[in-house]
């Protein structure tokens, strides 16, 4: 899958801009604050309906304006050409259109154009709390398995309903338990499928991760992802369902007392290990960075193997703090990837040693003081 044309209106510092992208490698260089990241963030919006940098759509609108519009033209090897539009205004919120017809839900967009992002924020993935890693695995699986995303949406909704019921004080104990039952049922249904899927994907992903870490570092450290959930994990939803009911029973008192759903995949954790040491606690700065890099490269290759269409790979400002050897390894990996790639960098990267910018396959851009120009 690749994007051939992008149009931005009032998207941060891009008041009005159109870009025609090359099908393989696109490199955008320019000083900090020139709008490099915003360009590829716009592409991310058209794939995932949200920013990979900002937490809220409000921050993305150009400062003097009340709305933004993004349009992109995509080509796939299986699916033919289609146009995605994403608009946001302070009054009406966010809307997504595919070939001008509105999507009922933003989540319907996800998976149409698979995307993998490598960016400085990735350090949160290895150093911060479990929710970062849950978001990562959820965005990961949702792109390759739409029913998983539906389960996540249902699960969140059911959990909110259930929490509300747990907080209700006007029912006596037995009434409350009778009223909880329909929600328990749905919590277990969706929750068990989520756990089984997470377990299955993490299991398959291990080897990809190990390979990439090995390739980047050349060191024989063994990477390992440990999936921790409320019971012994399994890839079979039926098995999880049984264990889920047992746990729910076990925690019944506690949930009624604390008035909140305790048992479920919303509290899952994925622990990263290098050999037998937990990365978050014992890893060096360098190991953190390389682990995150390996995770994203592994995700790229996993998607490539799993999906009919190649994912788009966005690399935001990641070359600056790598040593020459790592840069070489990463560049070689990029060139091997047949899909479309976007790279932003403050300083020029020695791409010309590896790829040819003379033809139509690859393009270099320079952005400075609001002007975007092709360098070749």
């Amino acid at each position: 899958m690749h994007i051939t044309w992008l149009k931005l209106q009032n998207f941060r510092n891009h008041t009005e801009r159109e870009v025609e992208w090359a099908p393989h490698l696109n490199v955008v260089t320019g000083p900090n604050g020139a709008g490099k990241t915003n360009l590829i963030d716009a592409i991310h919006y058209l794939c995932m309906s949200r920013s990979f940098v900002a937490n809220s759509d409000r921050y993305v609108v150009h400062e003097d304006q009340s709305f933004f519009i993004l349009k992109g033209l995509f080509h796939g090897s299986i699916r033919s050409e289609f146009e995605v539009t994403c608009s946001y205004s302070k009054g009406e919120g966010k809307k997504v259109f595919v070939n001008d017809s509105p999507l009922e839900r933003l989540s319907d967009l996800i998976g149409r154009v698979p995307v993998v992002v490598l960016c400085p924020e990735d350090r949160k993935l290895t150093s911060e709390g479990p929710s970062e890693r849950r978001s990562f695995i959820d965005a990961f699986i949702s792109q390759i398995n739409p029913p998983y995303l539906q389960d996540l949406i249902d699960y969140r909704k059911v959990r909110r309903q259930r929490n509300n019921l747990l907080q209700e004080f006007q029912y006596d104990r037995s009434t409350k338990e009778a009223y909880l039952e329909p929600w328990d049922q749905q919590l277990v249904d969706a929750g068990a499928r989520i756990v089984a899927k997470r377990n299955q994907v993490i299991k398959q992903f291990q080897e990809y991760l190990h390979q990439q870490y090995d390739m980047i570092t050349g060191l024989k450290h063994r990477t390992f992802l440990e999936y921790q959930t409320f019971c012994e994990p399994s890839s079979d939803p039926e098995t999880i369902r049984d264990r889920y009911w047992d746990k729910l029973e076990e925690y019944r008192e506690k949930e009624l007392e604390r008035e909140v759903t305790i048992v479920g995949p919303h509290r899952d954790e994925i622990v990263f290990y290098l050999d037998d040491k937990e990365l978050r606690r014992y890893g060096s700065q360098g190991q953190h960075r390389l682990f995150a890099l390996a995770l994203k490269l592994a995700q790229l290759f996993y998607f490539t193997d799993e999906l009919d269409d190649l994912p788009i790979f966005l690399l935001d400002d990641v070359f600056g703090d790598l040593d020459p050897h790592k840069i070489e390894v990463l560049l070689n990996a990029l060139i091997d990837h047949a899909g479309q790639i976007f790279v932003t960098s403050a300083n020029p990267i020695p791409f010309e040693e590896y790829v040819n910018f003379d033809g139509e396959k690859n393009r270099r851009w320079q952005i400075e003081e609001g002007v975007l120009e092709r360098r070749d």
Binding site: E104, K157, Q161, Y179, Q186
Partner: protein, 201 residues
């Protein structure tokens, strides 16, 4: 903004309360009405008053109706033993259009949703159970035709549980229907297929 007509302003305020009507649309409607003939506006106003004063609810199925019992509940051509449970009157209308169903309805008037403070007692589940226990109705099958969202599922589950120890077949319409789609948006062909392939709960 300087308000030049309090009366106009009041009309706009009332129109804004209609579903899907923002302030701008309300202004447009109000200005449009001002330009129409007196006759038209009076007819519209009368229709609205009649809607509230004369439209009744059927005391059996709780559907909106001009007469009580409604034309479906009083029809001798409809099976009395089968009740199709729906969320609201627009679902009756949607299912009637398919022509697949020849029993009677029961309109719950909502689905269970703790977030909206709607519990089983706030919708017409008790009234449904009264019908089940009413020997004259001779209910032997209940079809649950609620939306496939989590609130609809919870409601179906709850009703099914209540009916467990009764000699009644509980079925639900099968959804060859995209997840998260509201019943009213489904085309008739799909809904009619879903009806004929309904399965046991």
């Amino acid at each position: 903004m300087q308000v030049t007509s309090e009366i106009l302003e009041r009309a706009i305020e009332q129109l804004t309360k209609l579903p899907g009507t923002g302030r701008k649309s309300a202004q447009r409607i109000a200005m449009h009405l001002l330009k129409q003939s007196d006759d038209y506006v009076f007819k519209l106003a009368q229709a609205l008053i009649d809607l509230k004063e004369s439209v009744d609810h059927c005391s059996i199925c709780h559907n909106i109706s001009d007469q009580n019992p409604c034309s479906i509940c009083s029809s001798v051509k409809r099976h009395t033993g089968i009740i199709c449970v729906v969320e609201d009157p627009k679902d009756v209308y949607t299912i009637e259009k398919t022509g697949e169903f020849n029993g009677r309805y029961h309109v719950l008037g909502g689905t269970i949703s703790p977030l909206d403070n709607i519990g089983p007692d706030d919708i017409r589940i008790k009234e449904l159970m009264d019908r089940v226990h009413d020997e004259e109705e001779e209910v032997n099958e209940i079809i649950l035709a609620l939306n496939p969202d989590s609130e609809g599922e919870a409601t179906s589950y709850y009703i099914n549980k209540l009916l467990k120890h009764h000699e009644i077949d509980v079925t639900r319409i099968a959804y060859g229907i995209p997840m998260g789609t509201e019943l009213e948006y489904i085309d008739e062909a799909t809904l009619s297929r879903a009806f004929s392939s309904r399965n046991s709960f």
